[in-house]
């Protein structure tokens, strides 16, 4: 009883809170990094160097008036942000943050499959938000989101198949263990797959340069145009939680998860004294930093161009990658 119910529950509570707090600091990080890229300071008023801005933002969102437009579909309008947020949180269950069972909630043998399926649900929140708002800009955003999801989900899933072939397992924990045994991070064996998942991850989390569903300059905020207060906050939370998920997935699948650099080199065994979760978090931080950096640098694609890249470039490459991986696997 204690092992099957109590400890997992404690872990879930701790994890959820950790995710929420990291999201708040993630927004602060994003604002700061972008500010530095743009030769300005970013938030500086709340607390030293604006550190407490991370708490000021959620407080502001929670105390704001929460408006439901008169012509909106009330139930769907309320449901949409929840539908967007829950999957983003649920997937954290299968992500291993360290080598000990203490650092993950569940190690299920189809972890990767679970992750793909649950993250796909998140987009329904966006589509529903666009539709339920009964407003034209969100509607366009909802259409864009569904088109984008279909284009990218296939490419990313195909790419993940080649990772599964390389690692020989679907369990997130065992994928990392496989990387320890071979001594090679999958990122070095499958660089193409890494790039594809990174691009697909950007598209799935609606991040620049693929942020069409919220394109503020075109659709004035897109699907959350009509949302205010904490309901908008939930979308925000979901988006950043998704970013963290993608960064964790990229690290686990390609960059050795919690493993230290060069896991096979005995001379670096000294690095093992650094706890595994620190490796995991620092790698995730690098990926997140990359996301923010990309946002500060690149313009936005147009959505038909995004679809073209998805269908005509990424999916063929992903399929070719799977075939080549399979052939190599059989031959060796």
């Amino acid at each position: 009883m204690l092992d099957t119910v109590f400890w997992p529950l404690v872990k879930i509570v701790v994890l959820l809170n950790a995710v929420m707090i990291s999201v708040t600091f993630m927004t602060l990080l994003e604002r700061k990094v972008i500010a530095w890229a743009q030769s300005r300071l970013g938030p500086m008023r709340v607390g030293p160097y604006g550190v407490l801005q991370a708490f000021a933002d959620p407080i502001k969102l929670m105390t704001k008036e929460d408006i439901t437009p008169a012509n909106a579909d009330k139930m769907m309008f309320t449901l949409a942000p929840i539908l967007s947020l829950v999957p983003a949180f649920v997937v954290f269950a299968v992500i291993p943050f360290g080598d000990d069972p203490l650092y993950y909630v569940a190690d299920i043998n189809v972890g990767l499959l679970f992750l793909i399926s649950v993250t796909s649900i998140g987009v329904y929140g966006i589509i529903l938000a666009g539709w339920a708002s009964n407003s034209k800009y969100p509607l366009l955003a909802g259409l864009r989101a569904s088109a984008q999801l279909i284009s990218y989900e296939i490419a990313v899933t195909m790419t993940l198949v080649s990772v599964i072939l390389t690692a020989g397992t679907l369990s997130m924990v065992e994928i990392v263990e496989a990387q320890r045994e071979t001594g090679w991070w999958i990122g070095f064996i499958q660089p193409v797959a890494f790039v594809l998942v990174l691009i697909g991850g950007l598209a799935e989390t609606n991040r620049a340069p693929f942020d069409m569903p919220e394109a503020e300059q075109e659709l004035t905020g897109g699907f959350h145009t009509e949302y205010s207060g904490m309901r908008f906050g939930l979308f925000f939370l979901a988006e950043y939680a998704n970013m963290i998920v993608i960064s964790a997935v990229v690290v686990v699948l390609f960059w050795g998860g919690w493993l230290r650099p060069f896991p096979s080199v005995g001379a670096l065994a000294l690095l093992d004294y650094i706890p595994s979760w620190i490796w995991m978090f620092s790698k995730m931080f690098l990926v997140l930093y990359l996301f923010i950096w990309i946002r500060a640098t690149l313009p936005r694609y147009r959505y038909d161009q995004l679809m073209r890249i998805g269908w005509k470039v990424l999916i063929p490459i992903a399929i070719a990658n799977v075939v080549i991986t399979a052939v190599v696997k059989v031959l060796l």
Partner: protein
């Protein structure tokens, strides 16, 4: 097949109201888009939200007071508006402007062109999603505003010229600061280019978007970079030199394809050419007075005149009628480049996607204060 499915399903076009409060309509432009999916089938351009009746107001102000009103038209390029107006009245009154004043006017006008293009580049890039360029461009625009502030005390609406010359000579040390700015700006233009010119996404978003042929551009009365982008060699600075432009070497960049990317390249090249003009003007700045001989009470003799200059947005013309009796114009009419270029928006936009609409509003570079007046 397409008509068959259209008959089977109830298809309806979506009427989308873009603006007047929209982040990318550059002020209070309103577009009523008729969409088929995201493709624009038709667009109505609605304007007039900042109409202040500047032309009518001017007919009830004396000649000097009008300079102040011209500031409020294209408020991101106030100095060129002043210049156009002052030169028109000078032409009407046949006033000789001292050479030093003409040089300084040229410097101010070219600084203004850089400032206006900075704002254009920033907002245009922002519309397409590249937000960093926006802050970079504004950083450099700030330096120009500082130069203007030091010269005339104002940062946006300068009121920086007078009929017959200039109210003030350059402060001491100003020319060195302007030179230093030119050096900074040279490297910054390279920085903008690094971020955008060869950026794949930028190319995909601007190449082949909003193509207009030279003949169509002329028929629509386009002017400035949108006209030159379509390979029409027309620049008032070269064709009908005013101020001191006939004394400097500079090139007029011309596009080839007439698309958004060409217009972008042209404006970036204009940054460099403006810097070139400013450097030449600073080096050759003659000594002498900055104010010509002008009667204390301005009362031009009866007559009418039209005079145009090349503002950052295109050909800015003033048509002024004086009845010879009053101290105010009898008729005051502006040919604003933004207004004329806005005529080109509808043919440019039709057939493109919603995302391109904001890029196209950006590429024609309108300031609504000037469109509505």
């Amino acid at each position: 097949m397409a008509t068959e499915s259209a008959a089977m399903f109830d298809t309806d076009e979506l009427v989308l109201n873009m603006g007047p409060q929209h982040p990318s309509t550059h002020g209070v432009l309103r577009l009523v888009l008729r969409l088929d999916g995201e493709r624009v089938k038709d667009v109505d351009v609605v304007m007039g939200y900042v109409h202040r009746g500047i032309e009518k107001l001017s007919e009830n102000r004396d000649w000097t007071q009008i300079i102040l009103l011209t500031d409020r038209m294209d408020y991101v390029a106030a100095a060129t508006n002043n210049l156009g107006y002052c030169e028109t009245v000078e032409k009407l009154m046949e006033v000789e402007v001292p050479r030093r004043a003409r040089y300084i006017r040229t410097i101010l006008a070219e600084l203004q062109r850089i400032a206006s293009h900075c704002l254009w580049l920033g907002t245009h890039a922002m519309d397409i999603g590249a937000m960093t360029v926006f802050l970079y461009a504004f950083r450099e625009r700030e330096l120009i505003l500082d130069l203007f502030e030091e010269y005339c005390g104002a940062r946006l609406t300068y009121n920086s010229m007078r009929i017959g010359g200039l109210p003030l000579d350059l402060p001491s040390g100003w020319d060195d600061k302007a030179r230093a700015f030119c050096d900074i700006m040279d490297s910054k233009v390279a920085e903008y280019e690094e971020l955008l010119t060869n950026n794949r996404i930028w190319l995909e978003r601007t190449r082949g978007i909003g193509v207009i042929s030279g003949a169509d551009a002329i028929a629509l009365g386009l002017c400035g970079p949108p006209l030159r982008g379509s390979a029409v060699n027309r620049d008032v600075r070269k064709d009908e030199p005013y101020a001191a432009y006939d004394e400097f070497d500079f090139d007029i960049p011309i596009g080839t394809r007439g698309d958004t990317y060409d217009r972008y390249l042209i404006r970036l090249e204009e940054f460099r050419q403006s810097i070139r003009i400013i450097r030449q003007a600073l080096d050759g700045l003659p000594e002498g007075p900055v104010m010509g001989k002008v009667p204390r009470l301005l009362k031009p003799k009866a007559g009418e005149t039209y005079h145009a200059i090349e503002s950052p947005k295109g050909e800015l013309g003033y048509f002024i009628v004086s009845d010879g009796r009053a101290t105010n114009p009898y008729r005051f009419r502006v040919r604003p480049p933004s207004f004329c270029n806005l005529q080109g928006l509808r043919p440019l936009v039709i057939g493109h996607l919603v995302a391109d609409v904001v890029a196209l509003i950006g590429t024609i570079d309108v300031v609504l204060g000037e469109v509505d007046r």
